[in-house]
């Protein structure tokens, strides 16, 4: 049996790294005394995982955690206990229980939605239009641990278009980003592309980025909630 939950990473803890966020959740699980399953071996750890890593500095309304349980539990009780054990900046938004054989969230998450607020000190509408209508946008994506090496990716395979709203020198962006088994894109990378390739005058350091959703996509290309169906 697996307990799955949608949780948040709020502004107060946005600079906590993915590793630290994971460890924080692990300790909360221990404090909540859920009947968790442990890995075998010399240093047993709780069997749990997060669906997708979130970049440092980004807040989220849609982190998904999956915990393997050794015993059945009542979901309401589990949520209650965990709610009490979680530190500030992490809340449970939804939860469900599935069989152990159900595929891992990590394997089925295939898209994320983002909402960005960012200072923009000049005209941008025409440039954003240009991005949306472009057939192809290429980007040299740094290879993780690649010591500065990059790999060329097609941005449009991941992000088709952005919705935007510009007023008072602030730009609001909304977009969906595809997650594939071979990789995805970061919201910060899109902002960099908009600034560097499309001359959108953005102040990247002051971007306020939020992941608003994480979901699966069915055969028909429809969004499917990760939990609760």
């Amino acid at each position: 049996m697996k307990l799955r939950m949608q949780i948040t990473k709020e502004a107060g803890i946005r600079f906590v790294s993915h590793l630290e966020y994971t460890r924080t959740i692990e300790r909360a699980i221990r404090r909540a005394k859920l009947p968790v399953a442990y890995s075998e071996g010399f240093n047993p750890h709780i069997k749990f995982s997060l669906a997708s890593a979130l970049g440092v500095g980004i807040t989220s309304q849609a982190e998904f955690v999956e915990i393997e349980l050794a015993k059945e539990i009542d979901i309401t009780v589990a949520v209650e206990k965990l709610t009490e054990a979680l530190p500030m900046g992490i809340h449970i938004k939804a939860a469900d229980v599935v069989g152990s054989k159900t595929p891992k969230l990590m394997a089925i998450a295939s898209g994320a939605d983002y909402y960005v607020r960012i200072p923009c000190f000049g005209d941008c509408l025409e440039q954003l239009q240009r991005f949306n209508s472009a057939e192809s946008v290429l980007f040299q994506k740094p290879i993780p641990k690649g010591r500065g090496k990059t790999k060329e990716i097609q941005v449009k395979d991941f992000i088709k278009k952005v919705e935007y709203d510009y007023s008072n020198k602030e730009l609001e962006l909304r977009f969906a980003c595809k997650i594939t088994t071979t990789g995805s894109m970061k919201a910060t990378e899109l902002l960099k592309i908009l600034r560097d390739q499309f001359s959108v005058p953005l102040i990247l350091e002051q971007a306020d980025i939020q992941r608003t959703d994480l979901y699966a996509v069915n055969d028909k290309g429809r969004k499917k909630m990760l939990i609760g169906n």
Partner: protein, 605 residues
């Protein structure tokens, strides 16, 4: 805010104190004393204790650029808005950060220039047994263990505040100085010898006198006589990020009376007082439940000396087996008993085992009263190798009193013997031995407080000598920067005139001196000499028997006569026994503090 942090509302707060750690969060969060005070103070109605740490240099630059003050983590209040700012004094090289934090917090730097709008700046911790270099900057010091005295200070403040703060800061200081364990440096005047007198050089302290009749001639340290009676933080803060010691810290006892003659902690934290095994087990349960940590370290100055360690470890391991909580020991004694325990608390096994013979030759180990023989070490590493370890780390000190080149080369011999033991036990070569060497810094209130520290060139020469002798396969040699130990030595046994040097060094950019990338030796040497002082006068000078030390009006209870006798005995390599289970060796602490050794051996048998 992290799990376990405490935020009180303005209405709830009658007294506010910012507990300030003069280093970064990751370091400061790992100190037990700091956790204890946070807990004890916040448990008091009306008291809000918050935390603040030294911002790292890039952060500081941003704060200064945008004129943002240093604030607490809990309510983001600037330090100068607190009633108290309390610094932890863990190591001398953090002093520059104290000045920097006062400045960033918008607090008047010099205690004498502070106004009614400034907080009271206080400090405590191990370095308080010579607080003199900080006398210009601190309104008062807390001498000894803080659990009770800090609460008394807060109560006094509440009362004074309710009365409408009569007499201002001055009156508060006059009231607080009447609490035992409180040292108000401005109530004391220090005179120095103008010329050499009876073999004691000019510049040494002539006398320390009180200039306020309410101040005691000497401030006796405070201790908790029975640890079983006081509160222990069972809901410590669990940080999001990784800190230096990211685990449960269960303090099993205080004090150590093995009597190593170089050891400051061993002298100033006496006598030994253990917590009862039953109390510890109860605390352990609460700590595991409240923190969610999966590791618990049994901390003390020498954990293997806890009288009921074996049964305690058994019980803890059994209790937490299901929850996969491991138990770890921070240090090992040099014997096979300790190795046996290490084996039991499997978690240690991941890494190598660490032992601290401290010196290479038997003579040197006798000089420092380490009471360990080569045979002991061979037995201990032999047991380790038999149990599957193949890595050993050995700690030593260079520059001990009377040390010869042979004594230093004996370190290399010992490391080789350890490798030889591996071969003997396992039949193969290849044991990895790390030799880690620190330079010895004489500390106040140790038998070596009279000793001259080795000069920089001498230490460097010795380091190289050893380095050459250790060019052996599978032996790694690590040594610390000798330049930092010079400045550490100056401040460890310095007087209040050094306040000026500290101020100058800070003005010229000194901060994070404990971090080698920020430490500038030249800046310190220049600041000390610009203050009209001589670093060698403090560090390398052999001191006269009758010399009055700048710190003697702060009393940890160990008698001067005992320390001198120990120093004399060191010269002939005569050992002094541990009083924990044997006879009292007359250090003077117990009668001075009306305390006694608490050891649970007898009560359990």
């Amino acid at each position: 805010m992290e799990f376990g942090s405490i935020i009180k509302t303005a209405e709830e707060t009658k007294v506010s104190i910012a507990l300030a750690f003069p280093d970064v969060y990751e370091v400061g969060m790992s100190y037990l004393g700091f956790k204890i005070l946070y807990h004890i103070l916040n448990a008091q109605p009306g008291v809000a204790a918050e935390r603040t740490y030294a911002p790292w240099v890039d952060m500081e630059a941003k704060m200064r650029e945008n004129s943002l003050p240093l604030t607490s983590l809990e309510t983001m209040k600037a330090l100068n808005k607190f009633d108290f700012v309390g610094f932890t004094l863990q190591y001398e090289l953090s002093y520059s950060n104290i000045l920097n934090m006062l400045d960033l917090g918008g607090i008047t730097m010099l205690a004498t220039e502070r106004t009614e709008d400034d907080p009271l700046v206080i400090a405590g911790g191990p370095c308080v047994f010579n607080p003199e270099p900080l006398a210009d900057f601190i309104d008062f010091f807390i001498v000894g263990e803080g659990e009770e005295v800090m609460v008394e200070v807060m109560d006094l403040y509440k009362k004074w505040k309710n009365e409408g703060k009569p007499g201002g800061r001055k009156e508060f200081l006059e009231r607080v100085v009447q609490i035992p364990g409180i040292y108000v440096p401005s109530f004391y005047k220090v005179d120095y010898l103008e010329k050499e007198t009876q073999g004691i050089p000019a510049g040494c302290v002539k006398s320390v006198t009180t200039v306020n009749s309410l101040a005691p001639t000497a401030v006796q340290k405070r201790i908790i006589n029975d640890l079983n009676t006081i509160d222990y933080p069972t809901k410590p803060i669990v940080p999001y990020g990784e800190i230096v010691h990211d685990r449960i810290m269960l303090e099993i006892f205080r004090g150590c009376s093995r009597g190593c003659r170089f050891c400051h902690a061993g002298m100033v934290y006496r006598p030994v007082r253990e917590r009862k095994p039953e109390v510890l087990k109860k605390l352990a349960r609460q700590l595991v439940d409240n923190t969610g940590y999966n590791e618990m370290s049994l901390v003390s100055l020498s954990t293997a000396d806890y009288s009921c360690l074996e049964p305690l470890i058994h019980d803890l391991i059994n209790e937490f087996k299901e929850e996969k909580v491991s138990v770890s020991l921070p240090s090992l004694r040099i014997d096979s008993f300790s190795v046996g325990l290490a084996k039991e608390v499997q978690a240690v096994r991941k890494s190598g085992l660490t032992f601290a013979p401290e010196a290479g030759s038997q003579h040197m180990r006798d000089v420092i009263n380490k009471g360990v023989t080569k045979e002991d070490l061979m037995n201990a590493v032999g047991a380790a190798f038999e149990n599957g370890w193949s890595q050993v780390k050995l700690y030593f000190m260079l520059g001990l009193p009377g040390e010869t080149d042979e004594d230093i080369l004996a370190i290399a011999e010992l490391a080789k013997a350890v490798q030889g033991k591996y071969k003997e036990v396992t039949g193969k070569g290849g044991a990895k031995v790390t030799v880690s060497v620190a330079s010895f810094v004489p500390k106040p209130y140790t038998p070596f407080q009279w000793v001259g520290q080795n000069r920089l060139e001498e230490i460097n020469r010795k380091q190289m000598l050893l380095k050459d002798a250790l060019k052996i396969k599978n032996i790694t040699y690590q040594y610390h920067d000798s330049i930092t130990s010079v400045i550490e030595g100056v401040f460890a046994r310095g007087d209040r005139r050094l306040g000026k040097a500290l101020y100058l060094a800070w003005q010229r950019g000194a901060k994070f001196d404990g971090w080698s990338e920020h430490f500038s030796y030249d800046r310190w040497v220049q600041a000390i000499s610009d203050a009209g002082l001589d670093k060698d006068f403090y560090a390398t000078r052999e001191r006269a028997e009758a010399e009055v030390f700048p710190w003697e009006h702060i009393q940890p209870g160990v008698s001067r006569q005992f320390l001198w006798n120990e120093y004399e005995k060191s010269k002939t390599g005569t050992l002094t026994d541990d009083c924990r289970h044997g006879d009292c060796t007359g250090c003077g602490v117990c009668p001075a503090l009306d305390a006694k050794i608490i050891d649970w051996k007898s009560s359990v048998l």
